[in-house]
């Protein structure tokens, strides 16, 4: 127990330091402020509509805009933080000081990863909290489904941020991992195209064509599919007590956790032999 505590003490302090340093970044604050402005401003979008139509359309507008704002700004924050925590330390040469202490590479990386996750979680909590309050004030009931939506959003970010983190471990500047992170997010949402390729493959009868189909099938199974998390949009505007959502949510949380962990281990494998 003691050994375990000792092992995690280092990563904990690194995470704390990463968190403090990360939260001071101007770009991150900018993203956060922008997202809060969009969430706050969503209430005014409804003023564009005809007030004589007495419906809940403004409520739907608020929900959709807020969930999308959280998804867009959240992913930008996740990508930016995950992509910059390690390369910045290499650039500032802080990494040399840290690694010269009795801290293993795994511990260092774990601390950095956890720090990045803290930042993502805190930002998500701030954005989600404001959204939660806006809905509560508008509807007068606790929007509990929103909590599930926020949780699903976090696990989606966990996948994106862990693989972005892995890319950042191979890079010396944060620009490439940022682009890489955005690429991961976009392709993660387009994984279902591979299924399309699979259906269309084999039409010519050529072995190469068939092989493309098999590769697409394999990739579709292995690559994380971020479209699975589209449930986060559905449950906010949908109806409660939906049997498929009850079964899908725990599966998606586990899915996000597994791929998040795989992404982190990928980062470790890359970082292991990195010359610093």
């Amino acid at each position: 127990m003691n050994a375990l505590t000792n092992y995690f003490r280092g990563p904990f302090y690194i995470a704390l330091y990463t968190y403090r340093e990360g939260m001071r970044r101007k770009l991150l604050i900018g993203f956060l402020v922008l997202s809060l402005l969009v969430i706050f401003g969503s209430s005014f979008i409804a003023t564009f509509l005809d007030p004589s139509a007495e419906t809940d359309i403004d409520l739907k507008l608020i929900k959709d805009i807020c969930v999308s704002a959280i998804a867009i700004f959240g992913v930008l924050i996740a990508v930016y933080i995950s992509a910059s925590v390690v390369p910045n330390e290499v650039e500032n040469k802080v990494i040399y000081t840290v690694l010269s202490k009795p801290v293993g590479r795994m511990q260092y990386l774990l601390g950095k990863f956890m720090g990045a996750q803290f930042i993502i979680m805190v930002n998500l909590a701030i954005m989600g909290g404001l959204f939660f309050m806006a809905l509560y004030m508008r509807e007068g009931v606790m929007p509990t489904l929103l909590l599930w939506s926020i949780l699903l959003t976090y696990f989606e970010f966990l996948i994106v941020s862990s693989f972005t983190f892995a890319v950042s471990c191979a890079a010396t500047t944060s620009l490439v991992p940022i682009l890489g992170g955005l690429f991961i997010y976009i392709t993660g949402n387009l994984t279902e195209y591979l299924k399309d390729v699979e259906h269309r493959a084999g039409q010519t009868g050529e072995w190469f064509d068939a092989m493309i189909g098999h590769i697409a099938t394999g990739l579709h199974a292995v690559l994380p599919n971020l479209q699975n998390f589209s449930l986060k949009m559905q449950i906010v505007t949908g109806q409660p007590n939906d049997p498929p959502a009850d079964v899908l949510i725990p599966n998606l949380l586990l899915y996000g956790f597994l791929y998040g962990l795989a992404g982190f281990l990928c980062a470790y494998i890359i970082f292991w032999r990195k010359e610093v």
């Binding site: 359309i57 998804a71 997010y185 195209y193 299924k195 199974a221 109806q239 899908l248 795989a262």
Partner: protein
């Protein structure tokens, strides 16, 4: 392990990816099952509303096949009976109990949809959905169930709902500019982007059925055209009503568990706009089967009454008082409607008994039946007297007029019915019809407006494009009616 940390990390990562892959496949299976489940629910609701499953229809065939699999796997003994079973029987369901029951039923369907028992049906469903052959599977948000695999949904990375909202603001702008035809196209795009955009269906249908047609005159019959789908002669104005119906039905297919769509179709379109009470009852009955607001059953009871289903309306209002004892409706409105329906039931029974008395050959039985009929007639009169409002007074005059007609005092009867219709607006049509009936019975010539009213209500209009047999049928009907003038 400690000697080869990188290898260990690699092995763990490979294991995690393998586990992730398995989970990925499982989630894929769940999403396929979800798409199939949503289609099944929509098809089941349609089957419940139609009272039958369509023949020679891909949806109907697959639904029938699925029901057989569902029952043989033991999830339901007789699905169609259990699902169709009216939980209300004219009485309101308890909202909490209903929600729980609803969840239990849907849970069983969902368990079936993802089980191995439904494997073959799921496969068929995906094939048919990809070929766009299923009416209830369009726009299910799972790429595998869409034509071409991946389509417009995926282009927005999940932000299509926002795109739909922004388009809706544009629809609103077109509405204020009066660009009706542009609006329709854009509204369809909105709901294609976000099939769960309930407000778009509701406001869209309202615009189509009410606002778009507000300043349009009724289309003259020669300018109307026959529509095979709706089996009616429609002009520009009338077509908008059906656009609204189609738009809402489209929403129901995509969101079978949302009461607002059934309510809007039943109340705003069928009851208020088209005065098609059987269809109003049909959709409002479905609206109260899913979690709903308090005003929904009230409209259902009113539609029951207008459709002549007085027993159901009476039971409904009585239950409403028990369910919401302190509400203003229960205290002030429901008792009046209970008396109204009670009065109608007495009147109806009296008419039935009188008709039976005319049909019987046994003089003693005839006398008994006539006595019973008179007793009910008096009870109805007493009820209307107790109601003590313009409606009750109108009914009393109507009964008086009918009594006069029965005695052969036609002119007095017509005069009284005419007075009654001017004093009770709610009975205008019923009293006007009675005047016409009385005149026809007495051989009194109808006025020009009465003749027109008879023809108008008989739907005997002829329009271009009408099938010859329908045209023939209507011409014969015109001749028959005109012979009675």
């Amino acid at each position: 392990m400690a000697q080869h940390p990188r290898l260990t990390a690699f092995a763990i990562m490979a294991t995690l990816v393998a586990a992730g892959t398995l989970l990925n496949l499982h989630i894929q299976h769940l999403r396929e099952s979800e798409a199939y489940y949503r289609w099944f629910l929509a098809a089941a609701v349609q089957a419940r509303m139609d009272g039958q499953v369509r023949e020679n229809d891909p949806d109907g065939d697959l639904f029938r096949e699925s029901v057989v699999a569902l029952e043989s796997a033991g999830f339901f003994d007789d699905f169609l009976v259990e699902y169709r079973q009216d939980p209300t029987e004219g009485v309101l369901p308890d909202p909490e109990e209903q929600a729980e029951e609803d969840y239990r039923t849907h849970r069983r369907i969902w368990d079936f949809a993802r089980s191995r028992h439904a494997a073959s049906q799921r496969e068929t469903f995906l094939d048919l959905a990809r070929q766009q052959q299923l009416r209830f599977a369009r726009d299910i948000q799972y790429a595998e169930a869409q034509a071409g695999g991946v389509n417009i949904f995926n282009l927005f990375f999940g932000f299509r709902k926002v795109a739909a909202n922004l388009l809706w603001i544009e629809v609103d702008r077109y509405w204020h500019q009066g660009n009706m035809y542009r609006m329709i196209t854009l509204m369809r795009t909105c709901v294609a982007l976000d099939p769960e955009f309930i407000e778009a269906y509701l406001i869209g249908a309202w615009h189509l059925a009410y606002n778009a047609t507000a300043r349009m005159p009724d289309t003259p019959w020669p300018q109307r055209e026959w529509h095979d789908g709706y089996e009616a002669c429609l002009g520009e104005k009338e077509r908008f009503y059906y656009y609204a119906i189609d738009f809402l039905k489209d929403g129901i297919r995509r969101n079978p568990r949302n009461y607002r769509l059934y309510f809007e179709l039943g109340f705003a379109i069928y009851k208020e706009k088209l005065e098609d009470y059987p269809n109003a009852v049909r959709y409002l009955s479905e609206a109260i089967r899913v979690p709903h607001d308090r005003w929904v059953p009230r409209q259902l009871f009113l539609s029951y009454e207008l459709n002549g289903q007085f027993e159901e309306a009476l039971a409904g209002w009585q239950d409403y008082i028990i369910r919401f004892p302190g509400s203003m409706t229960a205290v002030e409105v429901a008792p009046r409607f209970i008396m109204r329906n009670q009065g109608h039931i007495y009147e109806q029974r009296s008419h039935e008994l009188r008709k039976q008395s005319y049909e019987t050959d046994d003089p003693q039985q005839r006398e008994t039946l006539q006595e019973q009929s008179t007793a009910y007639w008096e009870r109805a009169r007493e009820t209307w007297r107790n109601l003590n409002d313009p409606y009750g007074e109108g009914r009393l005059m109507l009964m008086e007029g009918l009594d006069m007609r029965l005695d052969g005092r036609y002119l007095e009867s017509i005069a009284l019915l005419d007075k009654a219709r001017w004093e009770t607006a709610a009975l205008w049509e019923e009293l006007s019809d009675l005047i016409i009936e009385t005149k026809q019975e007495a051989g009194i010539p109808l006025s020009v407006s009465e003749k027109k009213a008879v023809l108008r209500e008989s739907e005997v209009g002829i329009c271009p494009g009408m099938p010859p047999e329908e045209q023939e049928r209507r011409l014969r009907a015109i001749e028959e009616i005109e012979a009675r003038f």
